[in-house]
Symmetry: none
Subunit: 209 residues, 4 copies
DNA sequence: CATGAATGAGAGTTCATTCAT
DNA sequence: AATGAATGAACTCTCATTCAT
């Protein structure tokens, strides 16, 4: 009956929050933000409705937290990927491979990438535009700069980099979808990723070089 | 003083239904199915809430109608595009050009293509799976078959057609996004479409031919 | 194109009103006052919703009219039955026989007799109490007086006439239910009525006479 | 500060449910199923509308629960009454006395007996017919069998037992009405019940025995 | 920290009634 | 006299959020 020490409390706190987030993500992926009910989250996290509110002011607060985490995660990945000083084509290859691999390992991220542009404005309200812009800058910005560099160096087709970026990212998303289906046997994964990357790069490299 | 003729009534009905559908699509694109309120639809269609229920049993009935129309529309487009007996590469070119052009003309279709796989199960309930399957078969099936033909003929890379399909469609969606942004001046549209198609095809054609 | 004559109009008027009433009664018997929708009445009467309102100010107005008619009808029956100057037992016999027979011929009247005490207050609002009282006086009053006479004459049990009335009427209603079931073959009807009447009278006649 | 124990919660739940049921019955008796509004129930039960939905899925669910309880109650009464091994006339006497007494003590049951055949199909939907049949079997079945026995033994008139049953039950209902009016002084109650029973039995016993 | 009963604003739906034709 | 499209008040039901314990 002795009160819990603050370390214990802190530990419980973190565990609970993680449980809530995991549950929120799970429900969110199935039903979207509006379709996610606080009761569902609590149930899936194995706790009472009230406790969710103990840790998060309200539904949007919870989702802001979840989205911020996911965005942060994505940001970390990307920067760790494209900031190296490899050669352009190599970079693009690494970049694509990274997303493809993580789609296989964390299939929910694919869905997240697909929905985030539509959900951020709703979840973040006024600040939505800013958050979205920052996210996009972080997610697409580096890719953008690499593409621009590649175009300048004559290694990529001399087209509008925004257009190349859009098609490249779209194709990559298509590949990610395929990789995330959960039906890719490990021994084929490498091959599939290579194939996707081949398609993507063959589409944009400048053959007249 | 005499009552309206049935032609007049029929005309009114059609107009009203069209107004409701237009309003529903507009709100849907902004807020999704769950976020769309019947009141908003009525307001945007300039009528009382009750009138929406006069024409549609309930919200899901309305959305089923809207989705069915959109699916039908998409189906028509596709079949009119890929069933011709051109040569494979030509077909793929026509196919892509068609989607790109219609993305520019009907920007909402892009969003629809993106959301439909997630919304169909919700809107159609039990029958969702069947409807979705039928839609996908109609939407991707023809593309699939053309790709298989191309692979057989050695004109496309000898890869898993499902993978090619996924990346091709993803890239095309990326291009459609770009085309639908509403910021493409008409004089650049042709050029943009050609560029997108170039990227898409260069990615998948078999250069060792 | 010549306007209808007023006689024609009057004829149409009466026909329409009758159609509405018939439809209203039919729906009412199935769903009760609150469960009856004006649209159902119109549909069953084969006319547009609006026309019902042309003839009746509103739903309650229609029902007041319907109820008044039914009450009137019942009143007429009763008075024609009990006002004769037969001997008491004879009168009660005739009275019962009359209701039993009409239950067989117009099964809906049974249901009406059962529901009317509960529905009158709702349909007639403030005046409900008065209407109900008047109805009861008309329906039960004569029976009441006959019973009182019978008691005075020593032909019926010397009990509270209200009690006898209640039980007699209840038993008669039970018999009416049986007669109205629609499964009574004509050749058995007479016999059944006699049996019911025997039970009713044996219950209340004074055997010590 | 510690959360309520599950016993406390269970107690709260039971109390709340009982309050809701009591309120529902009260409103139901005044307005019928269709006329009963969930808001009225909540108000009469002194709680927010939402709480009613916390305990019952929807209006019909609540009414199914209420009806099931009332039916159960009625069933218990009846079986406890007629299953004894008294002599036939005695049984019928006990049976009638039981209903008359309980009509006086729980006046609402009379109204319930009167309305239940009409309301069950509405409340139970598809299953209405089955529920109604089961209810009638339980309510009338035992009486029926006693009557058949009495007829066989020559103690009751040699008539169709269904007919006797109908008239007997009707007459009893009439007596119950009288008893439930709330205006029966306790000192007269016994006398009234005896009178009713006399009428009922004199109607059906076989005097030629 | 934890529970789940309780609340009420607001969305979905129905239906009596009106109105232009 | 007749039609059926149109309206909106009122009801049913959901769910984010609060609160007593």
């Amino acid at each position: 009956m002795s009160p819990r020490s603050s370390e214990q409390n802190e530990k419980i706190r973190e565990e609970r929050i993680q449980q809530i987030i995991d549950a929120a993500i799970a429900v969110y992926l199935e039903k979207g933000v509006r379709g996610t009910e606080m009761g569902d989250i609590a149930k899936r996290a194995n706790m009472a409705r009230g406790l969710v509110y103990y840790y998060f002011k309200d539904k949007m607060d919870l989702f802001r937290f979840v989205f911020t985490r996911l965005i942060e995660e994505a940001k970390t990945y990307i920067s760790s990927t494209l900031l190296s000083d490899e050669e352009v084509i190599s970079k693009l290859r690494t970049y694509a491979r990274f997303y493809l691999r993580s789609s296989q390992l964390k299939p929910h991220m694919v869905q997240f990438y697909r929905n985030i542009p539509a959900d951020i404005p709703f979840v973040f309200g006024d600040k939505g535009e800013a958050v979205l812009k920052e996210y996009v800058d972080n997610a697409t910005g580096p890719l953008h700069r690499v593409l621009e560099q590649g175009i300048r160096e004559g290694k990529l087709k001399p087209l509008d980099p925004r257009l190349i970026s859009a098609v490249y990212w779209g194709g990559l998303m298509g590949g990610m979808n395929a990789m995330s289906s959960g039906q890719v046997p490990e021994e084929q994964a490498e091959r599939m990723m290579d194939d996707v990357i081949d398609i993507l790069l063959d589409g944009i490299v400048n053959k007249k070089g």
